[in-house]
């Protein structure tokens, strides 16, 4: 065998510069960019740049030579080369104004077939779902675009169609878990096949100009081109797993009476589908929604009740509760309220929703309906009010979902100053950290309100009664709760020592079970936990002290007041 020259083996042969790749593939730079994005081949950073660049030390864009070889076998390379010829021919037709030929050519435009690439990049359905974050965020964004230089109108229309279809699948599977309104847009998190998918939907504004200097529209459009195909396949699979017909349709009985209004049936159907307000047609109407998950967890729990299973059980219960959160509730959305996210949320948790007929197609009931339980309004005042329903601000719906609970409406009445909208994405570890009672109340109002009130009732119950008559009906169940707590405490008092002993024993066992290579980590975790607990305890103590001081001051002031009154 011939002796290899310098850079013919090792890192020097492993990498290939972009220019070399272009020559090898016989493509223009634009086509190469497109091919790489579609195929999911990205540039690499070598370990030793000078060696990888065969001695030159400037910074080049490098690819793995094996990746480029992989691209070489791709059939769409031929289509990309066909494009060049296509453009040459159509340009000629245009120049000599031969429009008949031009039309014929345009009709026979060589299409890029990306199906096999989707399969190649995502060998399983789960792989595709794992990469859905990027896809959804981009498509939701592009669905708001008008036709731009590198974003043809069909592309944005396609994005709109696919995203709507996806939302339907989310509603049908009740997969939504978390929602958050940020200044960027609406964050949604859904649980699809056990994978957490997060996406952002931009705020609903008529048009936002995008500055061309920041973003390369051409590149983004290529990403969108691939993601539309991918989401199409994902939607198809999702729909079939939910027993829905894939190009979405709805049962015929729903909108027959309105059909005379719209001459074009297709637009009628697509409008209703875009409204997100009607259940889609099922392939097999007899199949009922089954709930297998619960069974699994129950079986597991009988084996052993370790922490993890307990946690899982808790989570499953939460999800079950979430899925029926708005069941039996009827919402009416006023104008000026973002319709789409609210409809998505309400419908995916079992509620019924409608809006003004003139606002958007697909309204199911009118404002005059007496069975409406909540009306969502984003104005300080409403001219006509119905007694039978609660008028709330849109944040109510979002907060209910994040706290997996129907919150008391009084904080969300129209015109009220809303409580802060907290992010559901903050890590649960944060619970260890000291949280001031004010924030706790924001997170879980039911928990802490009683606590504060019980303090009050201990100290000066006569005052609390005079303060507000609202608190009176709540007071009795509170007392019951207190009694229960006290009872529990008593029960525990007998066994605290034993319990502690068992706990320490368990802890020791756990420590022993830890593998030696994980011991360091375990110790670190324990230490961190202890530190956090200590800090928590210290801050709690401080708070108590401050509270007590304030109470003292209050008492003193009261006494002084009384004295002054008496003297007067």
């Amino acid at each position: 065998m011939r002796r290899l020259k310098k850079y013919e083996s090792g890192e020097g042969s492993q990498y290939i510069s972009r220019r070399q790749a272009l020559r090898k593939l016989q493509l223009s730079l634009n086509d190469f960019r497109r091919l790489c994005i579609l195929k999911g081949i990205y540039p690499r950073e070598p370990k030793h740049r000078r060696r990888a660049q065969r001695g030159s030390s400037d910074i080049k864009i490098l690819y793995h030579s094996k990746d480029i070889k992989f691209l070489l076998h791709e059939p769409i390379v031929w289509t990309l080369r066909d494009y060049k010829i296509f453009h040459r021919r159509t340009n000629r037709d245009r120049a000599i104004r031969d429009f008949r030929n031009l039309k014929r050519r345009l009709d026979a435009f060589p299409d890029l077939k990306l199906d096999h690439i989707v399969k190649e990049r995502y060998p399983t359905f789960i792989d595709a779902i794992k990469d859905l974050d990027d896809c959804l965020t981009l498509l939701f964004l592009f669905s708001t675009f008008p036709s731009l230089k590198f974003v043809p109108r069909e592309q944005s229309a396609m994005c709109r169609r696919l995203t709507i279809e996806f939302l339907h699948a989310i509603i049908a599977s009740k997969a939504l878990r978390k929602v958050f309104i940020s200044i960027k847009g609406y964050y949604f998190q859904a649980d699809i096949k056990g994978q957490k998918v997060t996406w952002i939907v931009p705020h609903y504004y008529p048009f936002q100009p995008q500055s061309k200097s920041d973003v390369d529209f051409k590149v983004m459009s290529i990403f969108v081109e691939f993601y539309t195909i991918m989401l199409g396949f994902v939607n198809f699979r999702l729909y079939h797993s939910l027993n829905l017909t894939y190009p979405p349709q709805f049962p015929k009985a729903v909108g027959q009476d309105d059909e005379s209004e719209l001459s074009n049936e297709q637009t009628f159907v697509s409008e209703r589908i875009a409204a997100l307000n009607i259940d889609l047609l099922k392939t097999d109407a007899t199949v009922q929604d089954e709930e297998e998950e619960e069974l699994d967890i129950d079986l597991l729990s009988s084996d052993a009740d370790s922490e993890r299973i307990k946690k899982m059980k808790q989570e499953a219960a939460q999800v079950r509760k979430l899925k029926t959160l708005f069941k039996g509730l009827k919402f009416f959305i006023n104008r000026e309220v973002p319709r789409e996210p609210l409809v998505l949320i309400i419908r995916s948790f079992g509620g019924k929703v409608s809006w003004d007929k003139s606002l958007f197609a697909g309204a199911t009931f009118d404002e005059t309906d007496e069975t409406i339980t909540h009306q969502i309004v984003d104005r300080p005042q409403v001219s006509k009010k119905y007694m039978s329903r609660d008028y709330v601000q849109p944040q109510y719906v979002f907060d209910c979902v994040n706290q997996v609970n129907l919150l008391p409406v009084n904080k969300y009445f129209i015109g009220a100053v809303l409580p802060a909208h907290l992010s559901p994405f903050v890590d649960p570890n944060r619970e260890e950290v000291y949280i001031p009672p004010e924030e706790k109340a924001l997170r879980d109002p039911s928990l802490i309100e009683t606590h504060e009130q019980s303090d009050d009732s201990d100290e000066d119950n006569d005052n609390s009664k005079s303060k507000s008559d609202e608190e009176e009906p709540i007071a009795e169940p509170e007392r019951d709760a207190q009694l229960e707590e006290a009872f529990k405490l008593e029960l525990h008092k007998e066994n605290t020592r034993a319990l502690k002993k068992i706990e320490t024993e368990e802890h020791r066992l756990k420590a022993r079970m830890v593998k030696p290579r994980h011991r360091q980590l375990f110790r670190k975790l324990i230490k961190e936990k202890q530190e956090k607990q200590k800090e928590h305890w210290l801050l709690d103590k401080k708070r108590k002290r401050i509270n007590a001081e304030q109470k003292e001051i209050k008492k003193k002031r009261k006494v002084e007041d009384r004295q002054t009154k008496a003297s007067a």
Partner: protein, 473 residues
Amino acid sequence: MDFVEGKKRKRVSKKNKTSWRKHIDIEDVNDFLETSRQDERIGNVSDKPDHELFFVDTTPKKQRLTARGRRKINAAKPSRSLLALENLSKVPDPIVKRNRVRTKDERKHFIAKSIAAANAAKGIIPKRKLQSENDRLKSYDKLNERVKSKKANKTINQDIWSVGDVIEQHPEYNSQWIDKNVAEHNLCNTGTAIKTIPKGAFHKRSKLKSVSIPHPGTSYNPSRKDHEELLKTVIELEEKFIREEEHLNRVTTSMFDKMTAAQRDELRRKEMSAGIEELEGNVPDFKIDDSSDSDTYKAVNPAVIVKRKDKKKVRKAREQKVIQQKLLKAKLEKKKVTDIHRIRHLKEEIKEMEESLKDARKLKAKRKQEEKFEPRRLGKVVFQEQDIDFSMPEAICGNLRNVKSEGSLLKDRFKSLQQRNILAPSVDVGLRRRREVKRFVRKSHKEEEPQPNALKKSQRGNNNDKKIRIIDK
């Protein structure tokens, strides 16, 4: 006389008969007489009948052609590129019987021509022509079909994940009796491509999440604490930028002395005329310091004189060296003995060293883990982190109707792709599009003004300043 003609006099005397005749204007009288005489000769217009004065235009008006018609006529004409070949010369061809290639029509035999003409008169079309027409129609049909099927294929109607790999798609090879290698070999050699995907091709290049978790302070109605936290991070980042800029300013701009143009010119004049004054005679006193011995000549670079050591000195030096070596050896020996007593310390030292090495190793491993979250250097341009999106405290209004959105989602996505090593960061697209045009003024138009190019450059500099100012904000 021409002197008189050159100036037209205002007043002329018409005293004599001759001068009167010379200067009087009789044109109108002449005109009148002329017309009256003409009338006498051929009569007045009003006397004539209509048919003598007017006539009916029977030639058709030139029709306005449509664009298409004009094009058709033009198409029939020989192309403009051939115009140059047309012989416009009046000189007759010297060769009277010039040989030329006959046209296709001329080449035809007169019998064949007559037969064709007869057939055409009967309405018989040659088979060849019919065939070609047929083929054309067929090709159009095929094309239409292809277009139709393409449109139908656009809707997704299959589950790609339910279809197995290549072997599973071929049932004849999908059995337990056929080895996978054999199946692949056979398929490969019967025209079915089998692709192998390189191992790391689709590995994720970064551990960053594609949609990062939003900071709680970016909520449209954030809690005070979260929002303050976010603002704090933003301020810290901004301060870092400002500090950096100040540093750069200090190290570059403010490092150099500043002077006015006049000062600069003065300095230049001084520098350039440094030696001239001396020549003129105002020689400054240089010689003061070395005027001690003015008689002896002293070169600027005196010759080096090698002083050889004498033998004694060499010997002494050698002896000293040996002594030094001996001393060193003794010292080392002594150290060995003491080291035996220092074993405990040494052990400690080794332990310390090992620990520090271990720490370094740990740090390196940690750094490596962190690097998985960082953007790599893919191209010439370095990745620049995106600004943090935040709302100012006064922009928070607490209801969804008036929420003011911050930051661009598209830019966020674009940056995220760059951060995850999917796209190589590139130059600002807006800047890239602008083409550099070299401008210059014609020699005839040149004045003492600055060049437009230089002017433009200074403007560009201003733009940069603006950008920096924006970053400041």
